[in-house]
């Protein structure tokens, strides 16, 4: 292959390293109105009255919106397939507020300062209601956080259960009763922030045809268009959503966060409008990773083979449930797609509380699955007296295996059968064993204040949502044999524009520089469900491959007509006829435009897959625990991934290198404490600590040779897989160092000090 598997420079790289104005906020809009939101200061209350007269009277305030301005209409902010699998439980503005940060009102003013001052002038009378900050207690609280009237898709309103799932294959109870060994553990993962450095930003204006243009930092432009049309009650045809470069999303922008508010301002005033979340708003009022409390029971036979996996999930979805069902589904799907067990069962509840809203965050439920699963596998290996690597190798799914959970548990409905066509998890584990010095470090005797440990964990993910995610591509040819590639697929900083250009270039036998990528703009680019669920390379990439093949077929047809031959073939960038004559791509296009057989050479294609091949990863963590302070330093991470054929090694490495510190943050440094009123306490990057350059351990990142037959040129996904295994690898390493089992993240030094066993 000419360009697949090569370190092709990013197609947007020049503009990024030059600091060009390519992001959503890098334009100046004339007469723009600045929009600010009044966030609820209380976790649960009914709004008895609102007096906006002083705010409206303030010089420079143009409009103030409260729930009185909107008809009660319930929707979901989740940028997902349609009809949405989760509940419709949120209003643009509501008369009840359900978490500290909920929307109470919003103001449009001439400057940000005036808008902020106006917020202070809005007088709100709240009747405070009882609050629930515990998902378990929420189910038996005896009062409902959401109304019955108007909402839909909530599993059990009276018990505050937003979403529920259950599935069983075989007979788990009987199998556990018959098992030689049963291991059980309950684990929890915390709220985590996506912490993209570019905040959510949306700008709107009316174009010359009175259409609403939305320029927004989103991962889901087509969902934004559909949902804004619904919420503001205007036709889809009146909306254009432009996604410029995105400054990171990680799932946080798989959400309609504020687009509908600025849209409402522009429709009402006729003026451009702009909203940008401050960092503080990002932290308390945007979206977070769902905390989950997960209980696993694992049954093994006398050969150390799994007989049964029983999984119970309690998910805290916060005040609203945009991703309540699907995150929990992914927790169970991914947990039950790693190891082969004849009996599997899952039972899960996603429950409302008066805390921030769970959204989509890289891994999307899978980190919540693999922390408990891989911790318990480590415990099982120790109890069974077997090497943890060997126990995993014995039980992982193999090529040709049917993964039954995929069929019985789909995205809010029955799923599709999944057969494993590629897995190199054994190669990942074996290579990691070498590179991490596993055997040496595992055998090392520890003494002194600083104790070193090594741990391992494996994980899988998916490549798009089977039967749901659809991507489309359009390619047209230009005179110099360059091609415009237009895709709805949304590059949010991952490099997908480059990967897709490589796929098109490979098909069309041209250098990547000849592919001009444009993504994504609902007026200009075809539909794509968006950049989430690790779908872009696999789903959108397949659409690009098919569109490029259609375009290439048309080049050949035009070439044959121009050469006046019945048969011809493409050799590099020429069409060579059976008569020996040839014509270049460029000449074919020029003639096709201007002189003979005139037509636009182009290709278009859509792609949907019922497969979602899992990429796999083995992560080895070497840690050093300070037995005086209980703190853990990660010394080295070895991360070995099977992502199928790698399209662009440097970019794929970048995905893994970026995913690891996000996972380490969840394990060690990131946490969201709340006071007893549900107010988040650490509202800045000083106290919400994401990994910095100095915090980074040494990273060893490798990909094993792999080929996925259903993927474009053999590719699987790579975006989410690296984030799943580091946390349990670290906690398993802590156990190896000081004998403390960590079951609740983030790791608390106090627990280590209290429980360490320094034999």
């Amino acid at each position: 292959m000419k360009v697949i598997g090569k370190d092709i420079q990013r197609v947007d790289g020049q503009s990024l390293v030059r600091g060009k104005p390519v992001f959503a906020d890098d334009i100046k809009l004339k007469d723009v109105l600045h929009v600010k939101i009044l966030h609820s200061p209380v976790a649960h209350a009914k709004i008895l009255s609102m007096d906006t007269s002083k705010a409206e009277a303030l010089d420079g305030v143009v409009a103030v919106f409260t729930h009185h301005n909107f008809k009660p209409h319930y929707y979901t902010t989740a940028g997902q397939g349609y009809p949405e699998p989760g509940p419709r439980d949120i209003r643009i503005l509501d008369s009840t507020v359900r978490f500290v940060g909920d929307r109470v009102a919003f103001v449009a003013a001439e400057t940000i300062a005036i808008a902020e001052k106006a917020l202070d002038l809005i007088i709100v009378e709240y009747e405070e209601l009882p609050c629930i900050f515990d998902a378990q207690k929420s189910m038996t609280a005896g009062f409902a956080l959401h109304p019955k009237a108007g909402t839909s898709g909530i599993h059990d309103i009276d018990k505050n259960i937003a979403a529920h799932l259950e599935a069983e294959l075989g007979d788990v109870e009987a199998a556990l009763a018959d098992s030689a060994h049963v291991f059980e553990g309950t684990y929890s993962t915390p709220f985590v922030q996506m912490a993209h450095i570019e905040p959510h930003i949306s700008l709107t204006w009316l174009d010359n045809n009175n259409r609403l243009v939305i320029r927004t930092s989103t991962q889901v432009p087509h969902h934004v268009r559909r949902i804004v049309a619904e919420v503001l009650d205007i036709p889809v045809s009146r909306i254009r959503v432009i996604k410029p470069r995105i400054g990171g999303g990680f799932g946080g922008k798989q959400e309609i966060l504020n687009e509908e508010l600025v849209g409402a301002v522009t429709l009402k005033t006729g003026r451009p409008a702009r909203i940008e979340y401050t960092r503080e708003e990002e932290l308390f009022a945007a979206r977070v990773r769902h905390p989950e409390r997960v209980t696993f029971r694992l049954g093994f036979d006398t050969n150390q083979l799994l007989t049964a996996i029983d999984l119970n999930i309690l998910e805290d979805c916060g005040a609203y449930g945009p991703h309540a069902l699907t995150v929990m589904s992914v927790t169970s799907q991914k947990a039950l797609s790693m190891y082969k067990a004849p009996n599997i069962r899952v039972n899960g509840d996603g429950v409302y509380t008066n805390l921030p809203i769970g959204g989509a965050y890289r891994g999307y439920g899978a980190p919540q699955a693999f922390f408990p699963l891989e911790s318990l596998m480590d415990e099982a290996a120790e109890q069974l007296g077997v090497d943890p690597i060997e126990l995993r190798l014995k039980n992982v799914f193999q090529v040709g295996d049917d993964i039954p959970i995929a069929k019985i548990l789909g995205e809010g409905r029955e799923g599709f059968p999944l057969v494993l066509y590629s897995t190199e998890i054994a190669a990942c584990l074996n290579e990691g064993r070498e590179l991490s010095n596993w055997d040496t470090l595992r055998a090392a005797k520890q003494t002194g204040r600083f104790r070193t440990g090594i741990g391992v964990a494996v994980a899988g993910q998916g490549s798009g949502i089977p039967g749901v995610d659809m991507g489309a591509a359009f390619i047209k040819m230009n005179e110099d044999a360059s091609f415009n590639l237009q895709v709805g697929a949304t590059d949010l900083g991952t490099g997908s524009d480059t990967a897709l250009a490589q796929i098109a270039a490979e098909v069309l036998n041209v250098p990547v520089e000849k592919i001009i990528v444009y993504s994504s703009d609902t007026d200009m680019t075809p539909f794509d469900t968006g950049a989430y669920a690790s779908s872009t390379t696999y789903i959108s990439g397949s659409a690009v491959k098919k569109a490029a093949e259609a375009c290439k077929a048309m080049i050949l047809e035009q070439g044959k007509k121009l050469l006046q031959v019945e048969t011809a073939e493409i050799v590099d960038t020429d069409v060579v006829g059976s008569n020996g004559q040839s014509i270049s791509f460029s000449d074919i296009c020029i003639k096709s435009f201007y002189t003979e057989e005139q037509a636009q050479i182009m290709g278009t294609a859509s792609h949907l897959s019922y497969d979602s091949p899992p990429p796999f990863n083995a992560t080895y963590a070497e840690v050093e625990v300070d037995t005086l302070t209980g703190t853990t330093r990660v010394v080295r991470i070895v991360s070995i991934t099977d992502a199928g054929q790698i399209i662009n090694p440097k970019m794929a490495e970048g995905q893994v290198e970026g995913g690891i510190p996000q996972a380490l943050g969840m394990a060690l440094t990131e946490f969201m404490p709340f006071d007893d009123k549900g107010r988040m306490l650490n509202l800045d990057f000083n106290s919400y600590h994401i990994y910095t350059a100095r915090d980074m351990p040494e990273l060893v990142v490798r990909f094993v040779d792999s080929h996925e037959p259903t993927g474009p040129y053999g590719a699987k996904a790579v975006a989410e897989i690296p984030i799943n295994a580091p946390a349990p690898a670290v906690t398993n390493a802590i156990y190896n160092a000081v004998g403390v089992r960590i079951k609740h993240l983030p790791v608390q030094p106090e627990q280590i000090l209290a429980e360490m066993d320094l034999k």
């Binding site: 490495e653 290198e657 350059a693």
Partner: protein
Amino acid sequence: MIIQFELNGRLVSADAAPGSTLLEYLRGEELYSVKHGCDHGECGACTILVNSRSVNACLVLMHAVEGKKIETLESFSTHEQLPEMQESFLQAGAAQCGFCTPGMLLSVEALDREDGVVTEAGVKDALNGNLCRCTGYVKPVEAALKVLTQDRGALR
């Protein structure tokens, strides 16, 4: 309040409201390489050079820039030929989403203008104020080290 200072090689005067920040001014002047990420000097997305030292523009009040020499990434990107450090970032794949990249480039430029030997630890220290959620800092550190350890005078 009229403030005079040097901005990307030109003498400028700005009529700045009391309390307004250099970040607000620079983005107002459409110098969009200077990013807005946190307003509290924590993320480093608005890193610029003030008298050759890397500074968070969100923490600098306009009245404090009187007579100072301010540089943004725009002043390094005027030629078709990419300056060496930017080329190195490009080649290394150090820019993923690219939002924090201008700030990183100026942080390592400030390091380059200091005397002394550049080490990996020194580069990490220089970049410690630039939060990045995409790269894990691996390729930015690699890109910076490659230039700073072989040739001083990176962006010029």
